[in-house]
């Protein structure tokens, strides 16, 4: 960031001796705008479309396919519709908090983009506490959600808000604990540092480094789903119980903010998973040009993130919702102890093999392939049994 500002000043675009602070502020504002309008919000929108299409196929439906090619512009149409809607504030609501809440949720969604490692050079700020920062700011959501639930002055909203607070705060613990194995193995909290410690091939990813990291990856994924209010942990807005949970009283653009943040958070979940366990932007060194490498890395990173997002959608379409006490049971009785065991196990592992165990990587990879084959076998079994018409085209 510093070098960027220096180079802009040196280029003379702002005159001979511009005030450094103002140039810095302008650069930051422009970059924020680019990230916000160019990446975050379109991504959140496109994910809603993608999720609806994925769901639809799983449910023997078609999904939105009218607006644009294969309904791709559906998210834009929905967004415009929401902006045009009346922004209702209930008479009995605490209007200041009520108005503020969506922005806080949005803030918690936008802050993590600062440390998003898109490629080896494309990162806004490679903080030395990157991953810690990421988990810290995503937990800010709880403030907004609780505020929304409380200020709506609606009992359903209140229950939704309280549920969300309990859920997000609890699941911070397994999420934080399952980051530790990776930190133990790399000795850094920086996003780029963690990615650089992995290789491009699957057996060099932390996901398959040893059994403990594999479990840690699963725990982190489950906790991230819970923090992102995704099924099977979508209790704060459980539509069959709480109507729409904390967002019951919201309408128009404010409502969209909540849901933009929710779907946008999928990218954050995917990015955390990719960075920590799936090798990040790592790509074989095929070109001397930094630009080409960066573009390839960007593509690789996004493909991995989108795969994780797809898995989250797929899970959402498959599983029912847990109850609040079961949610707590899963967290405190299963995930937290497992995460501790994991952490100690990794520590022992690192003590025995400080540079990692290459053979284990290949063994884990082989186990993963066996698992995938078993899975495909089950899929084929169900396809054969149901004798339904096959249809391989993605669109309709």
């Amino acid at each position: 960031m510093q070098t960027l500002i220096d180079s802009i000043i040196a280029s003379g675009a702002f005159g001979a001796h511009p005030p450094r602070d103002i140039v810095g502020a302008i650069v930051i504002a422009v970059m924020c705008a680019v990230v916000l309008l160019g990446i975050a919000i379109p991504f959140a929108g496109i994910v809603t479309w993608a999720e609806r299409r994925v769901w639809a196929r799983i449910q023997s439906r078609v999904g939105p396919n009218r607006v644009g090619p294969q309904g791709f512009l559906q998210w834009l149409a929905d967004g415009i519709k929401h902006i045009c809607k009346e922004d209702l504030i209930p008479a009995e609501a605490d209007s200041h908090l009520f108005k503020l809440a969506p922005y806080l949720v949005m803030l918690a969604f936008l802050l993590p983009w600062a440390v998003m490692p898109f490629s080896s050079s494309l990162i806004l700020a490679d903080l030395n506490v990157g991953i810690l920062y990421m988990t810290a700011v995503t937990a800010l959501t709880v403030v907004g959600v609780l505020m929304a639930g409380w200020s709506s002055n609606d009992k359903w909203s209140l229950i939704g808000g309280i549920r969300s607070a309990a859920q997000i705060v609890s699941y911070e613990i397994p999420a934080g604990l399952s980051i530790f194995p990776v930190v133990l193995m790399t000795g850094t909290l920086s996003m780029q540092g963690i990615i650089k410690a992995q290789g491009w091939a699957p057996q060099h990813w932390f996901l398959l480094a040893n059994p403990f990291t594999f479990i840690a990856a699963n725990i982190l994924f489950i906790s991230a789903l819970a923090e992102g209010n995704r099924t099977p942990f979508d209790l704060p807005e459980a539509e069959s119980e709480l109507v729409a949970g904390f967002a019951t009283e919201y309408s128009g653009m404010r409502y969209t903010f909540f849901f933009m943040a929710e779907w946008g958070n999928l990218f954050i979940i995917g990015a955390i998973m990719t960075t920590l366990f799936l090798g990040g932007w790592q790509f074989p060194h095929v070109s001397q040009s930094a630009v080409v490498m960066n573009v390839l890395q960007l593509i690789v990173f996004n493909v991995k993130v989108l795969f994780v997002v797809f898995v989250a959608m797929w899970i959402r379409a498959t599983l029912p919702r847990v109850r609040i006490d079961q949610l707590m049971t899963v967290c405190w009785k299963y995930l937290v102890p497992l995460a501790f065991v994991d952490m100690i196990g990794t520590a022992v592992w690192v003590a025995i093999w400080p540079d990692g165990n290459r053979v284990m990587g290949y063994l884990m990879l082989a186990a993963g392939i066996v698992l995938a084959v078993l899975f495909i076998q089950r899929v084929v079994y169900y396809l054969k049994r149901s004798r339904m018409e096959l249809y391989f085209r993605p669109g309709i």
């Binding site: 023997s60 797929w314 498959t318």
Partner: protein
């Protein structure tokens, strides 16, 4: 010890059942969606795919209406209104009004059952949305028409014969009361059914 076993059993069961469920949902990615993209993206109109017995919006073929009022009597909600006059000179029944209130109609099919000629029948048309209730009243009589008189033999008038044929075909779908008449429908499989049950 049993607590530990239950703990592990729970984890195993959760992972196992989720694995199975995910396999089923994954298999749906290559199955054909069941959605009918009504109304515009269909190979044929929905109305044309509906079975002959479909109970859509009622229609009256005035050419073969005998003016027997059986439908008006059968209707449980009185949505059919028929007015008739007897011409004093020609002694012919003249229908001056035959209204069906589609807004009231509950598509039960009780009116088309007693009709002797199949004049009042359900169509496969179902798109009846309109802006006012008044426009849902179907007025079939534009100018007073003379009621149809069933003939002894087959119908000879080439204009009426196809309509009557259709009407009778519609009536044939209904089950005939009593065991004396052969039942319509399911004929090809009847003997086979008898064999199987014997």
């Amino acid at each position: 010890m049993s607590a530990a076993r239950e703990y592990l059993h729970n984890i195993r069961q959760t992972v196992g059942t989720i694995f199975e469920g995910m396999a089923i949902t994954a298999s749906h990615f290559v199955r054909k969606p069941y959605t009918v993209q009504y109304p515009d993206r269909m190979p044929v109109r929905v109305q044309d795919t509906l079975p002959f017995r479909y109970r859509g919006i009622l229609e009256v073929d005035l050419e073969i209406c005998t003016g027997c009022l059986a439908c008006e009597r059968a209707c449980p909600i009185d949505c059919i209104v028929i007015a008739m006059e007897k011409d004093p000179q020609t002694k012919l029944l003249t229908l001056s009004q035959f209204d069906i209130d589609i807004a009231k109609c509950m598509f039960c099919g009780l009116c088309s059952e007693p009709c002797p000629t199949g004049s009042i029948h359900h169509t496969t048309e179902f798109e009846g949305a309109d802006y006012s209730l008044e426009s849902l009243i179907r007025r079939f009589v534009k100018d007073p028409v003379i009621a149809y008189k069933p003939k002894k033999g087959p119908e000879t008038d080439p204009r009426i014969a196809p309509i009557l044929n259709r009407g009778m075909r519609y009536l044939d779908e209904f089950a005939q009361p009593g065991g004396d008449k052969p039942p319509g429908g399911d004929k090809p499989t009847e003997e086979e059914g008898a064999e199987e049950s014997a």
